[in-house]
């Protein structure tokens, strides 16, 4: 019931991590099954249910609530130096709708054997003839609720970012990268989620009201679903990664003792460019669906173009690090997550460039190569940013400091685990292993076994994470010196202009809205300062 943005952000974080654990467990179930060939542990339908739920849990209930709901709610008001979001009650609605969505999705998973159509729910597999019963309907309604929650939250964020900045803070001078990336994320959400809602509505109508949207017999087309879904689906993956980009900019600039990320205006433009171009490339998920050759050529070219702003960001991060770190061992543990992100997300991005080509996609579509690509950018992109951001802001949220060796052990185990799991998938895909398959020819056993070993390693890593959390809450080691760069302390502070030296962050900040003043002396650069009037 709370309307406080910090409470709501915390609820999102709890919900996100809980769902992430479920998603991780589901993935471990799959990895055990895939350890050797043959259907030996799980039945076919069960395996596909676990696989579909893994995707739903991770995308809609782990990454999105944590990075957008959690970090967005916590930091948008703080970084804009305002009391709360524009519409706190609507914020509460968003979190309640998200909880409801989680409930419906769990219901879908637990009933009638779950839903085995994949998170992409292509008809005719998701149509009534092949997937009778309530799981698919409950999943569709769950996505409707999650969509409503996302739209409400995005509207809230956009209104706050547009309207509630301090008086003279011009839009282009918005320094915090997290604000820019959440701004892009919100625009993507408010534009693409309704198209998903349209597609889902058509699926429900087809399933229960004898309409013909996706039935060729009535003149419809299953490809219509693919268009509608991927018109949402592609911006969705940018929604997943854009907040992570913002987090990494924050971590790296602080770890390198720089005031802001290198080329901050370019970074803002790159984020906006990725967001905008993300609307124009959905066809690269449909390269084998029978599209026209010219259509495929366009989507190849457009997808390759997105690599440009992404590359700008990667180079700028590297430039931020340059000249800033003298000893890696002495840095904050979140730096490791950020550096891991820069390296591994780049690898994932490069395989994305390969998959962008329609010609290669003809061979690699729905193979393990695709699985490797998106797990590199998600499991090692978004997830690394979430963990990095979590430890980066943990002292701010709780006033406590974890044991550095435990955090680093968790990092190392995760790093080894995810790389062991997903790097062999490149070879699996290139040698022809299809995705979403439970059984495979014996030639793939070696790499599958290594991938499963990596899975066990990430299981241990999660145990390490629990140990770290348990230890920090048990010992309650207080933070003595918060390492804030000066400009940041203003927005992490309680608004007194010189920053907060008492952590954890209080429940009500910026109660007295500071006035923002620009001093400009002749030809010199303007000097910004916040004062309490």
């Amino acid at each position: 019931m709370s309307v406080n943005h910090k409470d709501i952000g915390t609820i999102y974080l709890y919900m996100g991590f809980w769902s992430g654990l479920i998603g991780l467990s589901l993935s471990h179930c799959m990895r055990v099954e895939l350890n050797h060939p043959g259907e030996w542990l799980l039945g076919g339908y069960t395996y596909h249910s676990i696989m579909s739920m893994h995707a739903f849990m991770m995308i809609f209930f782990f990454v999105m609530p944590t990075s957008i709901g959690g970090l967005g709610n916590w930091f948008i008001p703080l970084m804009l130096k305002t009391k709360d979001l524009a519409m706190p009650r609507l914020n509460n609605l968003s979190v309640w709708l998200q909880l409801g969505s989680l409930f419906l999705m769990m219901m879908a998973f637990m009933s009638s054997g779950g839903l085995g159509c994949g998170w992409t729910m292509y008809p005719p597999l998701s149509s009534i003839e092949f997937m009778d019963g309530i799981p698919v309907d409950l999943a569709v309604f769950s996505l409707h609720m999650a969509g409503m929650s996302s739209i409400a939250g995005s509207i809230n964020f956009l209104v706050t970012i547009f309207n509630m900045r301090l008086g003279a803070l011009f839009f282009m001078h918005l320094n915090p990268m997290l604000i820019w990336t959440l701004f892009g994320t919100s625009i993507l959400l408010v534009t693409s989620v309704p198209v998903l809602a349209a597609g889902l509505t058509l699926l429900i109508l087809d399933r229960h009201f004898s309409t013909s949207f996706y039935y060729p017999e009535g003149g419809g087309d299953p490809i219509l679903w693919q268009h509608l879904f991927w018109f949402f689906g592609h911006p969705e993956v940018y929604i997943l990664i854009l907040p992570a980009f913002g987090v990494i900019s924050h971590i790296l600039s602080r770890s390198s003792a720089k005031i802001h990320v290198f080329g901050k205006i370019g970074m803002s433009w790159a984020s906006m460019g990725i967001a905008w171009m993300g609307f124009l490339v959905w066809g690269h998920h449909m390269f084998v669906a029978g599209l026209d050759i010219d259509t495929r050529a366009y989507f190849t070219a457009a997808t390759l173009m997105i690599a440009v702003p992404t590359g700008v960001k990667v180079f700028n991060w590297i430039a931020t690090i340059y000249g800033g770190m003298y000893r890696l061992k002495a840095t904050h543990p979140s730096t490791f997550w950020a550096l891991g992100f820069v390296l591994l997300f780049t690898v994932g991005g490069l395989t994305g460039v390969i998959l962008a080509n329609a010609a290669l996609s003809t061979l690699l579509h729905d193979s393990y190569y695709v699985v490797a690509h998106f797990h590199y950018v998600l499991s090692m992109g978004a997830v690394f940013a979430i963990f990095g951001g979590f430890w980066f802001w943990f002292p701010f949220w709780t006033g406590m400091v974890p044991r550095k060796d435990l955090v680093l052990t968790h990092f190392c185990l995760t790093f080894i685990g995810v790389n062991c799991t997903f790097f062999p998938m490149h070879w699996l895909g290139l040698t022809g292993m299809p995705r979403r398959y439970q059984d495979y020819p014996e030639m793939h056993t070696a790499w599958q076994a290594i991938a499963s070993a990596g899975g066990y390693c990430s299981f241990l890593a999660m145990g390490m994470f629990f140990a770290t959390i348990w230890e920090v809450f048990l010992v309650e080691r207080p933070l003595i010196f918060p390492f804030f760069v000066r400009s940041e302390s203003e927005y992490y502070g309680t608004g007194a202009g010189e920053g907060n030296t008492v952590l954890p962050c209080g429940s009500h900040t910026n109660g007295q809205l500071p006035k923002f003043v620009i001093f400009k002396h002749k030809e010199k650069k303007p000097y910004y300062c916040t004062v309490i009037m």
Binding site: I134, L138, M145, N163, P194, A198, T211
Partner: protein, 291 residues
């Protein structure tokens, strides 16, 4: 702002609605339960939303909404309309996907070669468009009167009346239509777009009725007129969607039935009847002959 129970209530009611629908559509509960449950939950949802709306009004009346907050709400509503626009873009996408390249099962024609008797777009639907567009003008009139400082409720009354008239017209059109939603992709797309549009007309009419009530009580003033501005924006959005639906589905979609391309071409070719070389006027006539 203090905590409020309404968001949680909305969510719980929404969950119940969806669970009810999931079980009902799959015939795991009786039809009575499905219809009755949906009705009860929708009424409950209306009551909760009404309570939420009441909180908003009370906050305005006690002066909690600063000028910035009012701007926030306007921007938020504009973004909500943006999201609704994209929902309709998704629905229209379904229509264009099916109608631009009609599939073999339809006889490679739109309207399909058999089974559908489309409506004459220059009959009742034209009346509907006229009614809705006129209601847009009366809505603007209402806003003008409020801006000028007097609450002339007749303007909003006309808007509400025209909206209700349009809904009744559409209902009659549905009843007398020559095809249903189950009649292939043509019927599916037609009822999908007109149906969702109708729901939005009903929602917009309810918002307009609220504004009508406010105007009857004389509650608006030039500095306090946000809700009527939002209502009229929403009404214009509904109107524009209908104009698009009319032009693309009724007129363009049914083009071959009442006006064939062959007839149009022959009419265009008439410019060559008495001359060898067409002049400027003839070229313009060629370009703009569509009927």
């Amino acid at each position: 702002m203090g905590s409020s129970p309404w968001p949680a209530c909305v969510s719980i009611i929404t969950i119940s609605l969806f669970v009810n629908m999931a079980f009902g559509f799959n015939r795991l509960v009786s039809k009575t339960e499905l219809w009755g449950g949906t009705l009860v939950l929708l009424i409950l949802l209306m009551l909760v939303c009404g309570a939420w709306w009441e909180s908003l009004s009370l906050e305005t009346l006690v002066g909690m909404n600063t000028a910035q907050e009012v701007n926030n709400m306007k921007l938020a509503f504009a973004l909500f309309i943006w999201s609704e626009i994209f929902f309709f873009i998704g629905l229209f996408w379904a229509f264009f996907h099916s109608a631009l390249v009609p599939s073999d099962e339809l006889g490679c024609m739109w309207p399909p070669i058999v089974g559908i008797m489309p409506m004459d777009p220059y009959a009742l639907p034209l009346l509907g468009v006229t009614i809705l567009v006129s209601s847009g003008y009366s809505a603007n009139w209402a806003v003008k009167t409020v801006k000028a400082g007097f609450n002339d409720w007749r303007s909003m009354g006309v808007t509400v009346g025209l909206g209700i008239l349009f809904s009744c017209l559409q209902l009659y059109e549905y009843k007398s239509a020559g095809f249903t939603m189950q009649d292939g992709i043509y019927g599916s797309c037609f009822y999908l777009i007109t149906g969702f549009h109708g729901l939005h007309v009903l929602a917009g009419t309810m918002f307009n009725i609220y504004c009508l009530k406010m105007m009857v009580y004389g509650s608006y003033s030039p500095s306090h007129m946000t809700s009527i501005q939002m209502s009229v924006w929403y009404w214009h959005f509904v109107d524009i969607v209908w104009v698009a639906a009319y032009l693309f589905i009724y007129i363009w979609g049914n083009w071959g039935m009442y006006v064939t391309p062959y007839a149009v071409w022959m009419k265009k070719m008439e410019i060559f009847e008495h001359k060898n070389w067409p002049g400027i006027v003839d070229i313009l006539r060629f370009l703009f002959t569509i009927y």
